[in-house]
C-alpha cells in the first residue's frame, strides 16, 4: 500500500494541511499581524525592541539610488549576509565570508566584485525575490558563525533549529541540516535533512531526508543522532518570547546557534510546514490540544517552557 490508513493517521494525531489551516493558522493568526513576520525588517525591529537576540543589522537598502552607497557602508565588515526582507525559503540570500583584493568571497569560495553585489541588491529592491513581485528592501546583516557542534553534520549553509510555537508553548522542534541537494538551504522540501529534537532534553532523535528515515548525513557521512544542543532551556525561552512580541498563536521560529552570541532568532513563519512531524516521528495534534486546554491559565514564559518540557518528550 502506498497510502496510510487515514483513521490510523488520525489516531496517531498527525496534523494535516487542511486542519493546520482551518483549526490553527486561521483560528490563531489574525491576518493583519502577518506582515510582522513576513517582513523580516519589522520582525527584527520588534525583536530588538524586546531585547531578543537577532543577527545585527548593518544596513538597509530601500531604494535603487541607495545601491551605490553600498561599498562605503560595507567597508568595515569582512563578513555579512545580504537578504531580501520579504523573501521566503532562502531565496535571494547572498553570504559573504570574506574580502580579497577588493573582491568579495562567497561561502563556496568563488569571488565577485562590487558590480555583481550592486546587481544583486538592485534585484532584491525591484522585488525579484518577493512573491508577487512587490517592491522590497535589501537587508545586510551579521554573518552567523554557527556553533561547531553542527560542523560535521552540515554541508555548506547554516543549520537552524525550528521550534513550533503554539500560543507561546514550544510544541515541537527540529534541527534542519543543509545538504548538497538543498544547495545550502535549510528547507526540507528542497532536500535539507530534518532531525527531530526532544523538547525535554534538547537531544537529537532520528532524521528524515526526502521523507525517508536517515541517521547519517549523506554528504559528510557523520551520524547526527544523540547530539545535545547546548543551552536548550534558554533556547526554548528565546523562542517562547516571540509569542509576546508578535501576538501570533501558531508560529514557526527559526533559531541559529552562533559561536559567540549563542541562540539568535533568524526568522519567524506564520504558516510553518508539517514536516516537523515526520522528523520527530510523532503527530502534532495531541500536543496542540493539550496546549489549547492550558491557554486559559495565562502562564508566564518560564512556566510555559517548563510545562512543555515536562509534557512533551519522545
Amino acid at each position: 500500500m502506498i497510502f496510510a490508513n487515514p483513521l490510523k493517521l488520525s489516531k496517531h494525531g498527525v496534523l494535516g494541511m487542511n486542519m493546520r489551516n482551518v483549526d490553527f493558522v486561521y483560528a490563531y493568526n489574525p491576518r493583519h499581524l502577518f506582515p510582522q513576520v513576513d517582513n523580516k525588517l519589522i520582525t527584527k525591529e520588534l525583536a530588538e525592541k524586546a531585547g531578543i537576540a537577532v543577527p545585527k543589522l548593518y544596513a538597509v537598502v530601500h531604494f535603487q539610488h541607495q545601491v551605490k552607497l553600498l561599498p562605503k557602508l560595507l567597508e568595515s565588515y569582512d563578513q555579512f549576509v545580504v537578504k531580501p526582507s520579504k523573501g521566503s525559503g532562502g531565496k535571494g540570500i547572498l553570504v559573504v565570508t570574506g574580502k580579497q583584493n577588493g573582491y568579495y568571497m562567497k561561502a563556496s569560495g568563488s569571488l565577485f566584485d562590487n558590480k555583481d553585489l550592486d546587481h544583486h541588491v538592485s534585484n532584491i529592491v525591484s522585488g525579484l525575490y518577493s512573491l508577487g513581485g512587490q517592491i522590497d528592501s535589501a537587508m545586510i546583516e551579521y554573518y552567523v558563525n554557527f556553533s561547531p557542534i553542527f560542523k560535521d553534520i552540515s554541508y555548506q549553509g547554516v543549520p537552524d533549529i525550528r521550534v513550533l510555537l503554539f500560543q507561546g508553548y514550544p510544541a515541537m522542534a527540529m534541527l534542519r541540516l543543509p545538504t548538497r541537494m538543498s544547495d545550502g538551504k535549510a528547507n526540507l522540501h528542497q532536500g535539507a535533512i530534518g532531525v527531530g529534537v526532544d523538547i525535554r532534553r534538547g537531544t537529537t532523535l532520528g532524521g528524515v531526508y526526502h521523507n525517508r528515515p536517515i541517521e547519517i548525513h549523506p554528504d559528510t557521512g557523520k551520524s547526527f543522532k544523540d547530539i545535545s544542543i547546548p543551552n536548550w532551556h534558554d533556547l526554548l525561552i528565546l523562542a517562547a518570547r516571540c509569542y509576546e512580541i508578535t501576538g501570533l498563536g501558531y508560529m514557526g521560529i527559526d533559531i541559529v546557534l552562533d559561536k559567540t552570541y549563542g541562540p539568535m532568532i533568524l526568522e519567524l513563519n506564520a504558516r510553518p510546514g508539517l514536516a516537523i512531524q515526520v522528523a520527530n516521528d510523532v503527530g502534532l495534534v495531541p500536543r496542540l490540544r493539550k496546549i489549547e486546554k492550558m491557554a486559559s491559565k495565562k502562564l508566564d514564559i518560564e512556566q510555559r517552557v517548563r510545562f512543555a518540557q515536562k509534557e512533551f518528550h519522545c
Partner: protein, 509 residues
C-alpha cells in the same frame, strides 16, 4: 458554535434548494436527467370536407381542450380563402372558418400536436352534473325500457354497477326480449350509445358523451369514438359503452365533452370529418420546457431558456466554470495536487474547449516553452515587475500571431484557434513558472506546471462531458448544490490524499 450551526444551516438550504428544484423539474415537468432523450408526440389531423352551396359558409369545429395525461403543444388551421377565428363557449374552444361566397367541394384542415405529460396537465373543465333529457319513448318501448331498468336495478348495488350491468345487457349476445325490442330502433354503435344515455336519463342518472381517439400510429380516416361518463354522486366515471370497461382507457385522447355537435356547418352539405393520427419524436428537453411554459411557473420564466440563443451559448460556457472550480477545490483540498495559480487550470480548460484537447495541449506547451526562454532573457535585463510582465504579454501575443499565420500557411486549421487562449493567463503562467524555476529550481517548476496541466486536462474532460454540460445548463440551480459542496469542503479538516502518503512513516511502527 453558534456560527458553525448557522454555516451548516446555510449549506443545508443551498443544497436543498439546488437539489429540490432539480427534482421538482425532473419529476413534475419531466425534464430529462440525461441528454439526447426523445419522447413521442402525437399529431392528429382532422380533415373537414363538405360541399358548399354557393352562399356564405360558416363552419364551427370543436377543438380539443384538456385530456388528463396529455398536453397540447400547438395547433394549426390550414384553409385557403377562409377567414378564421377561435372562440370559447361553455364546453370549450371552437375553431370557426368563414367565407362570403364559396361553391363546390371544400376541405378544411385542423392539426393538433400534443404529448404525454403524466404529472403536469391542465385541469379538466367540469360542468355541474345534470340528468339528461329523457328521449321520447312510445308506449311499447317505454314499457320495455322501464322493465329493463327495473331488472338491472335489482341486480346492481349503486350507480356504477347499474351502468356496468346495463351496458352488459345491451351488448350481450343472448339479449332479452326487451333489449331486442329497444335495439330494433338503435342497432348502430352510435345509436346504441344514444339509447344507453336515454336509459340512464330515464333511470335518473347524470351521464354524458365524451368523444375522442385511441392513439395509434399511422391511422387514417378514423372517426371519433364515444365513451360515456356517469356521475356517481361525487365524480364523473368513464365507461366504454361497448365493453363496459370502467375508467379512461390508456392512449385515449379526449376531443370533445358534452353533447354539443362536433361540427356546425351553415351554407354547406354532405359534411364529413375524418381524423388521421401520426407519431413523431421530439427531444425531451423541448417538451419539458413546453410543460414548464404552460405552467407559467415564475422560476422557469426567469430561467436561461428565456434568453436569446446567442446569450444562452455564452452562458453555457460560463455555467461550466463552477464545475471547474469544484474540481480545483477537490484537487487542492482532498487530493493535494499542487497547481500554480488556483484557477489557472479552469481557464486553460476553457481554452481547451475551443481548441480541442490535443491541439490545445501542444500549442500550450509550445507557447509556454518559448515564453519561458524569452522570460529568462528578460530577467537578465533586470526589469521592474510590471514592465516585465507586460513585455511577456506582448511576446505571447506575437507568438500566438506567429503560430496562427505559420500553421495557416502549412494548412493546419487548428493553429487559428490558438487565439482562444486567454493571453493574460499565458503570460501570467510564464511569469509564475519562471519565478518558481529561478527560486525553487527546474524540478519544482516542472512539477507545478505539469500539475496544473494535469488538473486542466481533468477539468476539461469533465466540462466536455455531454452529461455534465446538459446538467449544468438544464438545471442551473445545481450551482447552489455545487456551492454548498465547495463550502463544505472549505470546512474539511481531514487529510488530503497526498498526505496519506507523505505521513505514512508515522504510522509504520
Amino acid at each position: 458554535m453558534h456560527s458553525k450551526l448557522q454555516f451548516y444551516i446555510i449549506i443545508f438550504f443551498l443544497a436543498l434548494i439546488g437539489f429540490g428544484l432539480t427534482f421538482y423539474k425532473c419529476f413534475f415537468f419531466e425534464y430529462p436527467l440525461l441528454p439526447g432523450k426523445y419522447e413521442e408526440v402525437w399529431i392528429v389531423e382532422a380533415k373537414i370536407t363538405f360541399t358548399a352551396e354557393g352562399g356564405p359558409v360558416k363552419a364551427s369545429f370543436f377543438t380539443p381542450g384538456a385530456t388528463p395525461g396529455y398536453l397540447i403543444q400547438n395547433e394549426d388551421f390550414a384553409s385557403t380563402n377562409y377567414g378564421f377565428t377561435k372562440t370559447k363557449d361553455e364546453y370549450g374552444w371552437r375553431a370557426n372558418w368563414h367565407a362570403r361566397e364559396v361553391k363546390g367541394f371544400q376541405t378544411l384542415y385542423y392539426r393538433v400536436q400534443f404529448f404525454s405529460s403524466v404529472r403536469f396537465n391542465l385541469a379538466l373543465l367540469d360542468e355541474k352534473p345534470a340528468v339528461g333529457d329523457t328521449p321520447f319513448f312510445d308506449e311499447l318501448y317505454r314499457t320495455a325500457a322501464d322493465t329493463l331498468i327495473d331488472q338491472t336495478r335489482t341486480l346492481s348495488a349503486d350507480t356504477l354497477t347499474f351502468t356496468a350491468e346495463l351496458i352488459k345487457r345491451l351488448n350481450s349476445p343472448s339479449q332479452s326480449q326487451n333489449v331486442k325490442l329497444l335495439l330494433r330502433e338503435h342497432n348502430s354503435i352510435k345509436s346504441k350509445t344514444e339509447l344507453l344515455l336515454g336509459l340512464l336519463a330515464r333511470a335518473g342518472i347524470p351521464a354524458r358523451i365524451v368523444r375522442g381517439l385511441f392513439l395509434e400510429d399511422g391511422i387514417r380516416n378514423r372517426s371519433l369514438f364515444d365513451l360515456i361518463q356517469v356521475y356517481d354522486g361525487s365524480q364523473w366515471v368513464f365507461f366504454n359503452p361497448l365493453t363496459g370497461d370502467i375508467g379512461l382507457p390508456e392512449d385515449f385522447f379526449i376531443w370533445q365533452k358534452g353533447g354539443k355537435s362536433l361540427l356546425d356547418l351553415v351554407g354547406g352539405k354532405d359534411s364529413n370529418v375524418s381524423f388521421s393520427i401520426t407519431r413523431d419524436l421530439r427531444t425531451s428537453l423541448e417538451l419539458a420546457s413546453h410543460r414548464a411554459d404552460s405552467s407559467k411557473a415564475a422560476f422557469i420564466d426567469f430561467s436561461i431558456y428565456s434568453l436569446p440563443i446567442e446569450k444562452q451559448n455564452a452562458l453555457k460556457l460560463l455555467l461550466l466554470v463552477p464545475i471547474g472550480a469544484l474540481v480545483v477545490v477537490i484537487m487542492n483540498n482532498l487530493v493535494g495536487l499542487p497547481t500554480s495559480g488556483t484557477f489557472m487550470p479552469v481557464l486553460i480548460a476553457l481554452a481547451f474547449k475551443q481548441t480541442e484537447l490535443l491541439p490545445g495541449l501542444c500549442m500550450f506547451c509550445i507557447i509556454i516553452g518559448a515564453g519561458l526562454q524569452i522570460r529568462s532573457y528578460l530577467s537578465h535585463l533586470n526589469l521592474l515587475f510590471v514592465p516585465r510582465i507586460s513585455a511577456v504579454v506582448i511576446v505571447v501575443i506575437l507568438l500566438m500571431t506567429g503560430m496562427s499565420v505559420f500553421s495557416f500557411k502549412l494548412g493546419i486549421q487548428h493553429g487559428l484557434t490558438i487565439t482562444f487562449f486567454p493571453m493574460i493567463i499565458l503570460a501570467w503562467t510564464i511569469e509564475r513558472i519562471s519565478l518558481i524555476w529561478e527560486e525553487l529550481g527546474h524540478k519544482e517548476a516542472l512539477t507545478q506546471a505539469l500539475g496544473s496541466l494535469f488538473v486542466a486536462c481533468i477539468v476539461f474532460l469533465i466540462m466536455d462531458n455531454s452529461i455534465v454540460e446538459h446538467l449544468t445548463f438544464t438545471f442551473p440551480e445545481l450551482i447552489l448544490a455545487n456551492l454548498a459542496t465547495i463550502l463544505l469542503i472549505g470546512n474539511y479538516t481531514g487529510y488530503r490524499l497526498s498526505e496519506l502518503r507523505r505521513f505514512k512513516s508515522l504510522v509504520k511502527k
